[in-house]
Symmetry: C3
Subunit: 344 residues, 3 copies
C-alpha cells in the first residue's frame, strides 16, 4: 500500500509543510526511518531528527516546527502521538481484513452453534454444544472443548486451547498457544502418593480482555476462575484455579497468581511477579517486577521485593544492602574503639 502526504494529512486534519505528493509505503520509528517511510515526532528528545531524518513524511507536533526548510515533508498536528495512533488504527484495518467463513479441513460438532460472519480456520476443532458469537475469528489449529461459549467479535489466535465449559466474552483477544481451562493444581497427599482432586469449575473471561501468548489460565476446582472486563495480560503468565481478577488490570509477562487469590481493579503488576494464594489484593496497586507478594494488599500500595513491602522502603534498604561490607566495617571499628575504651 502506498499513501501520499496529502492523503495522510486528510486522515488526521494535518497541515502540510513541503511536497504533498511525497509518498510512503511503510512506517518506522524516527531514529531509523528511511526514504519511503512515514514517522512521527511527539517528544522533545526526538525533535533533532526532524531535519536529519531520511523519512519521506513526518507527522510533527506543532511546537517542534521551526521556521526553516526541512527535507522530509512534514504534517503538522497538535499532538503527533495521537494523530499517529489514529493513522495506525486505520492502517491496521486496511491491512488486516477481517476474516470470515469456515475453512476446510476443520472439525465442528453438529451440536455447536456458529454465529454470523464467524471465521473458523483450517485444522481447528470445535466440540459439542459450544457457541461462537457473531463476528468472532477462530484462527487455524485452535481447540475448543465442549459447552464453551465465546462472545462476539473476539479473536482466538492459532494454537490457543479452550477447555470444556469455559466462557469468553465479546471483543476479547487470545494469542497463540495460550491455554484456558487446564486443570487446577490440586492433589491430596496420601501415604502412597498424591490423589487428584477433580477440577470441575471453569474459566470466565469477561469482555475486552486481551491475553498474550503461551499463558496458562487454570479452571476453578469448583466455581470459576475469572478475568474481569478490560484486563490485559501479557505473555507466559500463570493464573491458578479460582483466582478472581477484577477490571482493567495490567499484568506483565511471566507473572504468576496462585490459587484463590482475589485481585481488585486498575492494578499494575510487574513482570515475573509472584502473588501467593488465598490473598486479597485491593485496587490501583503497583508491583515492581520480580516481586513476591505474600500478604493482603491495600488500595494504592506500591510494592517491591520478596516478600514485597513498600517500594520506596525496599529501595532504601537495598541501597544499604549494597553497602553492607562498609557498614560491617564501621561496626568492626566501633568494636575496636569500644574495646580500647574499655581497656583504657
Amino acid at each position: 500500500m502506498e499513501f501520499t502526504a496529502a492523503q495522510i494529512a486528510s486522515f488526521i486534519n494535518g497541515k502540510i509543510l513541503g511536497d504533498e505528493n511525497a509518498s510512503i509505503t511503510g512506517v518506522s520509528p524516527i531514529e531509523n526511518a528511511q526514504n519511503g517511510q512515514l514517522s512521527f515526532v511527539s517528544q522533545e528528545k526526538f525533535a533533532e531528527f526532524i531535519s536529519l531524518s531520511e523519512a519521506s513524511v513526518i507527522i510533527v507536533s506543532g511546537k517542534f516546527v521551526k521556521e526553516e526548510n526541512y527535507k522530509p515533508t512534514l504534517i503538522v498536528v497538535e499532538d503527533a502521538y495521537l494523530a499517529f495512533q489514529v493513522l495506525m488504527n486505520l492502517y491496521q484495518q486496511m491491512r488486516e481484513e477481517k476474516k470470515s467463513g469456515i475453512e476446510q479441513p476443520s472439525t465442528i460438532a453438529d451440536s455447536a452453534t456458529i454465529g454470523e460472519n464467524v471465521y473458523v480456520g483450517a485444522h481447528s476443532y470445535i466440540s459439542d454444544k459450544s457457541k461462537i458469537g457473531n463476528g468472532t475469528q477462530i484462527f487455524p489449529q485452535v481447540y475448543i472443548g465442549k459447552n464453551v461459549k465465546i462472545g462476539e467479535n473476539s479473536i482466538i489466535y492459532s494454537g490457543a486451547r479452550i477447555y470444556d465449559y469455559c466462557v469468553i466474552g465479546d471483543n476479547c483477544i487470545i494469542h497463540s498457544n495460550t491455554v484456558v481451562g487446564s486443570d487446577g493444581f490440586g492433589f491430596q497427599p496420601t501415604k502412597d502418593g498424591y490423589q487428584k482432586i477433580p477440577q470441575l469449575g471453569n474459566v470466565v473471561i469477561e469482555n475486552n480482555v486481551e491475553i498474550g501468548s503461551n499463558c496458562s489460565i487454570d479452571r476453578g476446582t469448583i466455581g470459576s476462575t475469572v478475568i474481569g472486563e478490560g484486563t490485559k495480560i501479557d505473555n507466559l503468565i500463570q493464573i491458578a484455579h479460582n483466582v478472581k481478577i477484577g477490571k482493567n488490570n495490567v499484568i506483565a509477562a511471566q507473572a504468576g497468581i496462585a490459587g484463590s487469590t482475589v485481585i481488585g481493579d486498575w492494578n499494575m503488576i510487574g513482570g515475573q511477579t509472584g502473588v501467593a494464594g488465598h490473598l486479597k489484593i485491593g485496587n490501583q496497586i503497583r508491583v515492581q517486577a520480580q516481586s513476591g507478594i505474600n500478604r493482603d494488599v491495600q488500595d494504592g500500595e506500591t510494592l517491591f521485593g520478596t516478600p514485597a513491602f513498600n517500594a520506596g522502603d525496599y529501595r532504601r534498604s537495598y541501597v544499604l544492602f549494597r553497602k553492607f561490607p562498609e557498614i560491617v566495617e564501621r561496626i568492626n571499628n566501633l568494636e575496636k574503639n569500644s574495646k580500647e575504651n574499655t581497656n583504657e
Copy 2:
C-alpha cells in the same frame, strides 16, 4: 444433569435433614452458592454459611449441625470434605465420558501401534513406530514423534508435543501445549559462534505423573531426562536436559530445574523457584516460592531466598533488612557517641 438430595445421600451414605426431593444441577463453593446448587461445609470458618446459604443442598460434617431448622437441605456425614471428593469423582466420571475411536482427519503412521479403546482426536499426528497403550486418549491436534511409547489410560491434551523416542507411562496426564523432548540447551562456544551439541537422549515420564499446560521438558543430551512416578508438575515449568526427578514430588508453576540436577522423592518446590544445574537435592524438602537453589540440599530442609538457605533464618534476616535504615541510624548514633567519648 439433575440430582436429588436422596440420590446424593445414597452415594455418600449421608443422613438427610430437610427435603429429600430438593434437587441440584450444579456445584459451588459455599460462599457464593445459589439456589439449585450443591455445596459443602467442612471447616469451622464456613459453618455460619449453613443457615445463610442459598444453596439447595449442603453436605455437612456432623459436628457443625445444630438443633435448628435450616433452609437448605443438609446431608450429614462424618467428613464433608472427603464425602464431597467422592461425589466430585463420581460427577466427573459421569460428565467426562471416556472417549475412544480414531477421528478423521488425523495422521497415523502405518508402522504405529494403537492399542484397544484408544482415542485419537482429529488433526493429531502419530509418527513411525510409535506405540499408544490401551485406553489412552490423545486429544485433537497432538503431535507424537517417532518411536514414542505411551502407556495405558493416559491422557494427552490438545496441542501437546511429544518428540521422537520419548516414553510416557500409564495413567499420566499431560495438559495442552506442553512440550516433551525438545532439545536440551547445549552449545559449544567457538570463536565464530556457538556450535550445537546434538541432543540424542529422550524423556522418560513414569506412571501416574501429571504435567500442567505450557511446560517444557527437554530431552537428555545422551541418556534420559526422567520424571519419577507420581510426581505432579504445574504449568509453565522448565525441566532441562538430563534432570532426574524422583517420586511423588510437587512442583509449582513457573519453576525451573537446570541441567543434570538430581531430585529425590516427596519434595515440594514452590512457584517461580529456580534450581541450578548439576545439583543433588534430597527428599522431603520444601522450597518457598521464588527461591534460587545453588547448592546440594539435604533431606528435610526448608529453604527460602536467592541463593536459598534455611527459610526461618531467611525470614529472620529479612525482618532486619526491612529495618536496615533504623539499624544504620543506630550505628550512626554509636559513632557519634564514640566520637564524643573519645573527644571527652
Copy 3:
C-alpha cells in the same frame, strides 16, 4: 542401528584396545552405561569408570589409559569429548533423515512460495504470500501467517506459530509451541479502560538462531523486534516488542527482556532473569540466574541480584545478610557497652 568398535574407530581415527568386533546399539553417560552401549571418558573424575563400566565400547582420552586389561573395548583418541561430539553429529545425521515433501492434509495458500526440498508436515497452515526457502522443514501443525519469509535449511517444529510479516533466516531452529510475532503489550490508559495500541511491526530472526520451546517473541509496535545472528534462546522466554538482541548471545530458560531494550553481542543471561525496558546492554556481560537488571550495563560486567549489581559485591553483601541477626547482636552489645560507658 548397530556399529562395531572397528567402525567407530575409523570415524574418529582412534586406536582400538580390546575386541574390535565389540558392537553397540546405543550411547549412554559413563556412570550408567550398560552392555551394548557406547560411552566416553574425557574427565579425570570419570576415569575410574573405565575399568568398572558395563559399556561395551568406551572412547577414552589417551592420558587416562593405563597398562592393564580392560573389560570394555577402548577406543583411544587425543580428546575423547571432541571425538564423541563428531560421532554424535554423524549419528544424528544417520538417525534423523532430513524430511522433504508436502504431507496432506495441509493448507498452503496459492500465493505462497515453497522452495526445493522443503518439508511441510500434515495439518500445517501457510498463509498468503509467504516464502519458505530451500531445504527448510516445517513440522506438522505449524502456523505461518501471511507475508512471512523463512530462509533455507531452517527447522520449525510442531506447533510453532509465526505471525504475519515475520522474517526468519537460514539454518534457524524453532522448537515446538514457540510463538513469533504475537502483539506487543501496548495499551493506552483512558478513564474507561485500556485502549489497544496497534502492533504493526514484525520480528526478524537472523541466521543460525535457535529458539527453544514455548517462547514468546512479540512483534515490534512499529519497526522490528530483532534476534541477532547466532543467538541461542532456551525455553519459556519472553522477548517483548522492539527488543534488539545482537549476535551470539546465550539466554537461559524463563528469562524475560522487556520492551525496546537493546542487547549487544556474546552476552550470557542466566535463567529466570528479568531485564527492564528501554535499556542498553553492552557485550560479553554475564548475568546470574534470577537477577533483575534495571539500568544500562557496560561491556564485561558480571551481575547478580534484584536490582542487579556486580556479582562479587552481591555475594559479599549476601554473606552478611545471612549473618544479619549476629550483626545486630553486635550492635546491641555496642549499645549496651556505650550506655555503660556513659553511665560510668
